[in-house]
Homo-oligomer: 236 residues x 2
């Protein structure tokens, strides 16, 4: 009995990879892709750290969360590491996705999702606006929202991008959850309430713009203050 409990605990604890590490993985992936394009075959954590402006220590720590992908005295094989990170991120598998909200943002996402050949397959687009329904974007027809539940089941859809106004987001999210969706890529300015087994990844553009605003203003304030202090010192 005690033995079993120990086993279960171990499995549960197994890998609690920190969020910060996950955030950095796609960036590693991008740089490795560039290295492949440049024809670079192997790279040390140190060389990569210079390119990426992070510490070599961080790179090695991050990667070792998932296994030893390098070799002492050699470094990392670029192509191998690239494909291993793809596996970790799960972008070697196919993800079927739909986009709900076929406005400019929805259409922009449609282009992304199809261009990036990372296993994301755009299966359908939906909109409430009857003037958009029937139009074809990147080979995908825009459907009315009534179809939603059937379409998800029939096309084995795992991911839904939500590019609709916040007023409609909660209601649609509920319908998605009920239809068994696995993840919501949420562009609406709300925090969605979903069960534990549904992933929500937020892209809150307005918050990003506010951070930008803060950084501009605080940088200017700091420069202004420093200039003033220097002037004061000179006057003494």
């Amino acid at each position: 009995m005690d033995f079993d409990r120990e086993k279960v605990l171990k499995v549960e604890q197994q890998k609690t990879i920190s969020k910060a590490v996950i955030t950095r993985l796609p960036r590693y992936y991008r740089y490795l892709g560039e290295l492949i394009e440049e024809g670079v075959e192997r790279i040390s954590s140190n060389d990569l750290s210079v390119r990426m402006k992070v510490t070599a220590s961080q790179i090695r720590q991050d990667l070792n969360n998932f296994g030893g992908f390098g070799q002492q005295g050699y470094g990392y094989n670029v192509k191998y590491l690239y494909s291993e990170i793809a596996k970790i991120l799960g972008i070697d598998r196919q993800h079927n996705l739909i986009i709900i909200g076929a406005g400019n943002l929805g259409q922009a996402i449609a282009n992304y999702a199809n261009f990036e050949k990372r296993g994301f397959v755009l299966k359908g687009m939906f909109d409430v606006n009857p003037r958009l329904v029937g139009l074809v974007v990147r080979g995908v027809e825009i459907r009315g929202i009534d179809d939603l539940e059937n379409f998800i089941h029939e096309n084995n859809v795992q991911i839904a991008a939500l590019t609709i106004p916040k007023s409609k987001a909660a209601e649609i999210a509920q319908r998605l959850v009920n239809s068994g969706i696995k993840a919501i890529w949420n562009f609406a300015h709300v925090d969605l309430q979903v069960p534990d087994d549904v992933v929500v990844e937020n892209v809150h553009l307005s918050e990003s713009l506010m951070r930008l605003s803060y950084r501009v203003c605080s940088l200017q304030d700091r420069m202004k203050q420093e200039a003033e202090k220097l002037r004061e010192m000179e006057n003494q």
Copy 2:
């Protein structure tokens, strides 16, 4: 001499607000806006923490980086705190911005930037595609890219949103920097090289999608493993 150095150091050290705090500020702002709409006049850190699913301690710590906005025994006045956070974020001031790249994403941003009445004023849009030049989006004419430098100077533009392919991004960024732009809201999949006095805020949608993919896959893996372990235990 020693005295002056001390003074300068103090100014420099003054406020090094952590990035995590800045990331959370816009979310506080959003929730306070909702509270105002609901007609709530005051709120305690504890009540807000329940709504936002963070700790009350974190809320108080975060806010106290900028000053004491609350009152013991009372809590925080919602409207006052809302306006103070606006000041901190600098969204009470006017920011003139342009959008470079008038495709779907650029147009989506144009809608955002104008709808959100937070002091961001869309002054112009630019595109290399001659078929787009001359079109009018949300009252703003799309211009050819040759105009760029003059336009920035004449319209006192501080922020440029970069919604163009990565291949063109570095070159345009350099032109923006040379024209004295203060900040770049970068949607291209590259890390831009800019001087210290220019702010870059990245929105890398493909990285966001990869994080989503990771989270879906790791959640499924974990659930699969746990189910298996339970089955094993039952069989013993």
